[in-house]
Symmetry: D2
Subunit: 296 residues, 4 copies
């Protein structure tokens, strides 16, 4: 069996790689900071000195990186996978990046005879560890079929959105937008309740047990009720990165998104106030402050 390349062993990538190993895949891993690769070496992974080296001709490479620039670098850069992946190779790209970057990379791969499959995920590091990720998928049919066993080893559900190279990324951005919108809405509702002397937790619990009994409202409702913003589950700074991808994608597609503008501003103001390392739910503090509530 050809080894699978795996590039990017951060908070998300590391448990995903472990799940692939647990499912019997041989991995060739690469991470900018090599120290993070060592524990996987102990599980049998081959640690590579470059992205290029992790890819094998005609094989599959999974990437899970922090942003568009990092993904472009490991794909198109000097030590990137594009050349080594070669004919019929598949790049399984799971990072949250813009649809534009996805289209650009897909084109580069097609020119080189390889294929690009977009497969961004929903779920935090603990969901990654527990194989509970929800994965959005788009790309060429044959390539998608080929990576399916890997996806099943890493996630709980896979949702196919067709053949467009950036389609799955649009859906991923829609999802992050919906989460941010839910956070902002909950923050405003809880401020209204608190200002009337009503217990925040009682209100959050009520909604998350009745009409909004889903992971987003349950999870974020509890965090917001208790204002538990450190340590971050997802750092506000990264949330702003995603929000800026939403902004750029909406601007380019000419889609006015008023709530997206609002949450982008909240994230921006939070960073301006030095809150970039709190959880992204900490945008709530701005709502509380504007309502004259002392938030802690």
């Amino acid at each position: 069996m050809t080894a699978v390349g795996f590039i990017g062993l951060g908070l998300m990538g590391e448990p995903m790689a472990r799940n692939l190993i647990a499912a019997g895949f041989k991995l060739r891993v690469f991470n900018r900071s090599l120290a993070k690769a060592e524990p996987l070496a102990g599980l049998g992974a081959v640690v590579c000195a470059s992205a290029a080296e992790a890819a094998q001709t005609g094989g599959i490479v999974v990437t899970m990186l922090a942003n568009d620039a990092a993904l472009e670098e490991v794909t198109l850069g000097a030590g990137g996978i594009l050349k080594t992946l070669g004919r019929d190779g598949v790049h399984l790209s799971m990072s949250t990046v813009s649809p534009e970057t996805a289209r650009k990379l897909a084109e580069a791969h097609e020119k080189a005879g390889s294929h690009y499959v977009a497969a961004p995920v929903f779920g935090r590091p603990d969901a990654a560890a527990a194989k509970e990720l929800n994965i959005c998928l788009s790309g060429p049919a044959a390539a998608k079929a080929r990576v399916k066993p890997l996806l099943e080893a890493m996630g709980r559900t896979v949702h196919d959105f067709g053949t467009g190279p950036g389609t799955a990324n649009v859906v991923k951005l829609c999802g992050n937008f919906l989460i941010l919108a839910a956070i902002e809405s909950l923050a405003e509702a809880l401020a209204l309740a608190e200002k009337h002397g009503i217990d925040r937790a009682a209100v959050a619990t009520f909604f998350s047990e009745t009409r909004f009994n889903c992971p987003v409202y349950k999870g974020y409702g509890a965090i917001l009720a208790a204002r538990r913003y450190a340590p971050p589950g997802f750092a506000l700074e990264l949330g702003y990165k995603d929000s800026q991808l939403i902004q750029a994608t909406a601007a380019k597609a000419r889609v006015p998104m008023a709530v997206a503008d609002l949450v982008d501003e909240r994230l921006r103001a939070s960073i301006a106030k030095g809150r970039q390392n709190l959880d992204w739910t900490a945008i709530e503090l701005l709502v509380a402050e504007a309502a004259g509530l002392s938030a802690g």
Copy 2:
């Protein structure tokens, strides 16, 4: 057993009254348009000629009316329940009204020796018929205890928010705000997807099966994906009434709520465009139009 008064036999009140009868309560019903009371007469309810007549000294009267003015009229008006309800009577007020109206009526009842219990509900007419309402509750402890059997006959869950006369109403307004915010957010997300050529229904389904698998996102997601705005489940005009209650409550409490402002505008513009009789989800049309999507 003393008969229970029931005032307001609209789309919501009528099935709620039926459930009380089914649970064994004797009802004295009143509705402005008497025709609506007749089917209940067939089930044994006593049809009264005025609100006052529906109330019995020391008894319980349930009200389920369209707005604050109607509730004030049947309570404080010439033929209102305040005088007939008398000492130790309980007014179980289930309409969506402002916390201010609730406080005003509670005060009037206390002066008259009776009690006011706020118990606004979440759920549409079909949920009322199926006894699946979620009921928020606040008011004096003894009065709440006394109405509990009625609430259990009409709803699936009851959530106690303490003794404040308007507290449950604030929670109800929070809920309607959260629903409007979810509608607006979904509308924006679906516009972004559709503008990228992605099937609206596939996106709505994906979210409502994964991180947002709750009644609000499932139900409204399906309506928004298909743009099924007529006949209305909840008329946009009524949604605007509720939104204006949210606005007034937030303004008075000095709570800035940017998303609430936005949805209020959407409702207002929809009415200005003649869409008051569509479902309140039809605010989505403004989002679609602004994105240059032909919505139907």
Copy 3:
């Protein structure tokens, strides 16, 4: 010559009354706190014990009051002018009130055989003292003609907006909205400049000397550049009162006004933070804080 009634000797009313006296009018003045009337008594004004007493049958009464409730009280209340003003009297109403209140009072006057002329003003106390007010006018033609000499004694320009009872009030609200919008816009622009290390005053001066060389941008630009919010020229709390009139008027007329929503929120949040006694330009502090600027 019949004396002219003048009710309301606050920061605006007092200098306006002085200008009428200086122009040769005999005044019968009333103010809730009588102390404020004494200086005018020294100039020959007759100090009255009630609003009713200040009005003379068939005469003219000027009112300049703090809000809708005060105006309704001195007009329709027990000691109000409606009865004493009598047949052919004219109520020259110069306060900033809602068009709805104007219509209501106009109707009451017509029933009583007297007339209501709306004449709200633009300008601060110093402009009132200097006869530099800009006055908006609407109401019945004959009544407007009759009050013209008074208006010319109090203002620099008079702008006739027809016969509608509340028309001039709508224009006045439009103006206050435009001022608030200019304040918010300047605050955002100056934040962008300051965050780039550019001197706020230099930017404000540049615009107010070139494309925006008008009183609003000159005056507010200077205040905002220096963040000179105390003592207030126009207290933030009063600005919120006007903003709420704009909100109510827009909501009733079904006119979505996104910028009006935004400034209303700014005022509300400022009050929630305890800034109600600063100048209304102090909404800028929220912009500065959100940008991470230390505002003094």
Copy 4:
């Protein structure tokens, strides 16, 4: 006397170049479409085949181009001015571009021994023709002194904002933002007035003769009152380009600008509706439509 290079003979550049010639400067002109250069040849300008050719070692080159990409191309591109301008040359850059582009080009010039002066302008083509531009200036002191005679030949006023390479560009973006904000505010105010049956032109005239008697409110007020959006004075599409520069600059500097977000959305939605070739004031149509006004 060394000839001055002039690159970009569009609606703005052409009359600016004419004014330089009229003031006695010898010009070497370049324009992508050569036809536009011919009339200037008749006035003695030397028509060049490339940007590089228009620049002379140690001389001055004026650029007036449509966007950041065009400016980068004529500066850094293959046939760009950077190499030919050489030691001690000055690039007088008058286009509306981002401060980031300005900084990037300034750095490239300093490396090459030449200097970059930012001098964006306020004013439309007719103001350019009439030498009535207001010019913002920033850059190295000696270079600014050297270009002063040219600026005086093209504009009415010059405002120095110091030595920062992108400083003048920030001020220019602030100005375009303030204009957009004024357009939106006027549109909302006029909608409120029109919905109350008040003549739009009367309201616009009133404000532009009193507290807002400055070019922006006079000019745009008249256009908005009459809804005269074609032919465009400044095409909406170009306005969106500028708005996106504002968005990017604010995002990078972490300055939340809520009104800027709003107008950006208005421009975006207008383009989505096919209005890109109308005047940028045509964002008003969205306000009118949302208020249920038939706009034409």
